[in-house]
Symmetry: C2
Subunit: 399 residues, 2 copies
């Protein structure tokens, strides 16, 4: 009989924490661990808004998988998952003719974009999704700026940027733009006040769900730096020319970035599993209902916050804690022990507003401005420390 | 009676050297000098291939006019020349209702693009023309690279660059690309050998008119670094998809840069002057035939090389020497002296092949490789020294 096969799909926060826990705790002869990821690197999703704005090199947000995975203990497969069958216990890959088989599957492939029924989003909007898409956002924006001076009529839409969604990612992204745009203006000889930055949000407030005092701080900070907010304003369509708002108003903008939210990965529905907005309501051991050996973590897992009976928002913090617990439980199961139920512990929430400012809550304390921004940076470093220890942290801290 | 009015159109090499000579030699009460330029800065045309490739900041190639012109002696008008009438002695500007009048006019507005009858050049090709156009070339190329990873089918044309023309500018530009492309490939995770750099030239050799040994060196240097040469191959059309060669072959390329040559400024023909390929065959005092007070210098002047009975190619060196002579002659005329005939003295010719190499002839000596590249750099600095003295030279040398 072969060793038990644990297959982890996806090298995001959740997948990597699972693998990291397994390789630390398991010996060679206990299990065969396989990690599948479509890129040879992990990217730090919570930092992607920075390369998207051009304020940070994408290299900061990237960690080669081989530098954090112990290839003596874990087999790494660079491939794209095209589907899986939880009854046959098989995973299908784009470039492999035979399916991967497993005893335990950890589904940690990350989310898909939620369009909320708006038309043209996937065709015409840019997405802060991965390293490739954010490099393109930056280049797209710069290309539009460079065209401005080369058109006879100086088209204002070329230097208008619409950010759809004033949630976490949208606010963090526009915060970076507030830093970047003055530099771009100097580079391309464009007066700063010609450039429009517009944040459009369907909810009546920016950062829905956040503490009001912090939201007010963020909105004022951004407005003072030229951001226009359009609240209670759903986007009906993203076109090749810009966006059409509910009611019919059109805003012409050559750059539209969609940050309105995510839904679960479509592979879950395609595998016949029951989902809520694409996510799986997992049990206390992070398992999909009806499947003893299918674990779903990260953006694809739905867990209800007992305090308000609403789902926790999908975050890196959640995925990381799930990965840690899951690794321990998988090890316990292999050794005949019993698993511990997962409990989410919210350490805090921080949203950056560009390089020098942020807002957030840590413990019971509200943070504003520069001190929040330092906390945010320390938090980034913590992730690199968890992933690759001191040496990786120091390498990234140099950026 | 007012002071004699000298109007200089264009702040390129020729125009600036004229103004620089005038302001050094003339006293306040001798003439009213006006310089017209559409930008508040001079740009170093011979360096534009570098920002176009992204190997150098466009700021290196830019010098603010107010930093080199003595505004106590010279009136600077930032405007675009829309036409002139050499009989009425009037110059028409885009943003002024009244024409500028003059006693002496120096026409130094620079050249237009020569398409040699190829279709679609002005619509679909990029031009290494000015600061705005080269910033756009760079951004365009990078944007295409960023798109490559975001297309399902990995379209090769997105990372194919065609340079039309293997003359001076074309070779210098592709030399920069040879340096830049490996960096871009790393930045966008594209294998270097996927990228195609194609130099297309109608003549049977690259760098027509250059010493064969130097041409062979340049071609081998570039070929070893992945450049494909297509010689004796005129481009018939530039399309939105790439280029169509004579005979019908199509090369798909998202980036096409046209460096095939220049012709005289169309304003000369529009003013009713007789031209040869848009250029004016000036007399020995750099005057247009039939007009005592219309001087044409730089790319718009045609001067025959007595050694081979062919026109000198338009170069920065030629324009600079013309500006120096013309300033002296204008001063002499104001003071009742006689003008000296212009004689071009070829100091040397250097073509860069990226950062670390160049070829050229200085005096009777052929130069190759790094030493040529150092000479080329010194030559750039010499221009900054001529323009703005030691302080400007030192500032630029820091780049």
């Amino acid at each position: 009989m072969g060793l038990p096969k644990i297959v982890v799909l996806g090298a995001g926060y959740g997948g990597l924490m699972t693998v990291s826990g397994l390789q630390k705790q398991l010996n060679h002869q206990e299990a065969e661990i396989t990690l599948v990821n479509q890129n040879p690197y992990h990217y730090v999703t919570t930092k992607l808004h920075e390369p998207a704005a051009g304020t940070l090199s994408p290299e900061y947000a990237r960690v080669p998988i081989k530098s954090v995975v112990d290839t003596n203990k874990v087999r790494f497969v660079e491939d794209r998952v095209t589907g899986f069958d939880p009854d046959k216990k098989e995973v299908y890959l784009e470039n492999a003719s035979d399916p991967l088989t497993y005893d335990d599957l950890v589904f940690a492939l990350g989310a898909n974009t939620e369009t909320f029924g708006a038309k043209g989003v996937l065709e015409n909007a840019h997405l802060i999704n991965n390293l490739n898409s954010v490099r393109m956002i930056r280049e797209h924006m710069e290309y539009m700026f460079s065209q401005y001076q080369n058109t006879e009529e100086k088209r204002d839409d070329l230097i208008t940027i619409v950010v759809g969604g004033a949630g976490f990612t949208g606010i963090e992204y526009i915060g970076e733009l507030v830093d970047r745009i003055p530099k771009l203006c100097r580079e391309f000889d464009i007066p700063r006040d010609q450039v429009r930055l517009i944040s459009i949000e369907a909810a009546p407030t920016a950062l829905p769900g956040f503490d009001k005092e912090l939201v007010d701080y963020a909105v004022q900070y951004l407005e003072e730096r030229g951001v226009e907010f359009r609240l209670s304003t759903p986007i009906e369509e993203v076109t090749t020319d810009g966006v059409v708002l509910k009611g019919g108003e059109e805003i012409k903008a050559a750059t539209v970035v969609w940050t309105c939210g995510v839904r679960g990965n479509s592979l879950l529905e395609e595998a016949g599993l029951e989902t809520m907005r694409g996510r799986i309501k997992v049990d206390e051991y992070l398992r999909a209902p009806g499947y003893e050996n299918l674990y779903v973590i990260g953006d694809n897992s739905l867990i209800i916050n007992p305090e308000n009976e609403r789902p926790y928002p999908p975050t890196a913090q959640m995925a990381t804690q799930q990965g840690e617990t899951l690794a321990k439980n998988l090890v316990a199961a292999l050794r005949g022990g019993s698993p511990a139920p997962f409990e989410f512990s919210l350490k805090g929430t921080l949203a950056s507003l560009g390089r020098g400012s942020a807002i957030g809550v840590v413990g019971n304390k509200k943070l504003f401005g520069f001190s929040a921004s330092v906390m945010k940076r320390l938090n980034d470093w913590r992730w690199f420390y968890l992933l690759g220890g001191l040496s990786l942290m120091m390498k990234k801290a140099k950026f």
